[in-house]
């Protein structure tokens, strides 16, 4: 079995997209919704294409719990620790199993 090497930044982007999409499913004010949509719109680039972004499905409850577990490590503003945990091979492999759309997005 060969593992595709994915940069930590890409993993983070994919997780953010799934997280934002999950947030967009909850009850939000118009301002917050617009902000999230603008964030999503600005996330794609030449490498992380709009097709990849579109392929990612919103986070499930378990994924959300995992993100919150990792974020508990962070200080007030920085997210160094959660970045390290969430983009680690061990944890991202879990995300890929929980949400196959990450792997599907990589195929685009």
């Amino acid at each position: 079995m060969t593992e595709r090497i994915i940069s930590a930044g890409h993993k983070w982007s994919m997780l953010c997209v799934a997280y934002y999409k999950r947030l967009l499913q909850s009850k939000l004010g118009v301002d917050a919704r617009l902000r999230l949509l603008e964030e999503l719109n600005e996330m794609s680039d030449l490498h992380f294409t709009p097709k990849m972004l579109a392929a990612i499905q919103p986070m499930s409850d378990v994924e959300l719990d995992i993100v919150h577990e990792a974020m508990a490590l962070d200080g007030d503003e920085r997210c160094d620790a959660s970045f390290k945990v969430l983009t680690s091979r061990r944890v991202f492999a879990i995300f890929q199993q929980l949400n196959p759309s990450y792997s599907a997005a990589l195929g685009h």
Binding site: E3, A70, D76, V85, R89, A93
Partner: protein, 184 residues
Amino acid sequence: MTEPQKNVVEPVPEWGPKMAALPSDKWRNFVVALFESEGPPEGKGRKIWAVERAGFGKDDGTSTNKVLSTIANRIFQDPRIKSAIREYAEMYSHRILPAAMRAVKHGIYDNAHKDHARFTSMVLDRTIPVETISTVKIEDHRPAATAEQIERVIQRIEALARRAGIVVLPPPIEGEFTVVDETP
């Protein structure tokens, strides 16, 4: 206390949007009355005076202070009046600016004025302010998460995944590699 004259507020050519949004002229007159030079000072019946001057209460002027005070308090609770007061205050401050400038000028030109030095210093501070250069060094002393903490969190995450029916085994590292010749 002098008998307040009702409805003698000077006409204002054009109200701002907040003043215009008030429900009636009485409300607008109330805001204007709060800014007038006449009348008792704050805490000594100013609001009651303003309410009466604006035309609230009975026409024959027999409304008691208690009634007028209740009206004043009710008006003050309204968010529209707060916005209107803020808007009017801004307009008012522009209107009194020339007088304020004349007073400062007078204080500066008159050497015998008791606040001559204060006026002069005030103007100098604004026109030739003292420059100070500050170097701010920001250091982050928050402790970074330790390897043990990170490991504990990863284990909790794996437990969450197991509960969700996910077999938590990171894929083994496999790869094809070639030796790159680094000689220039």
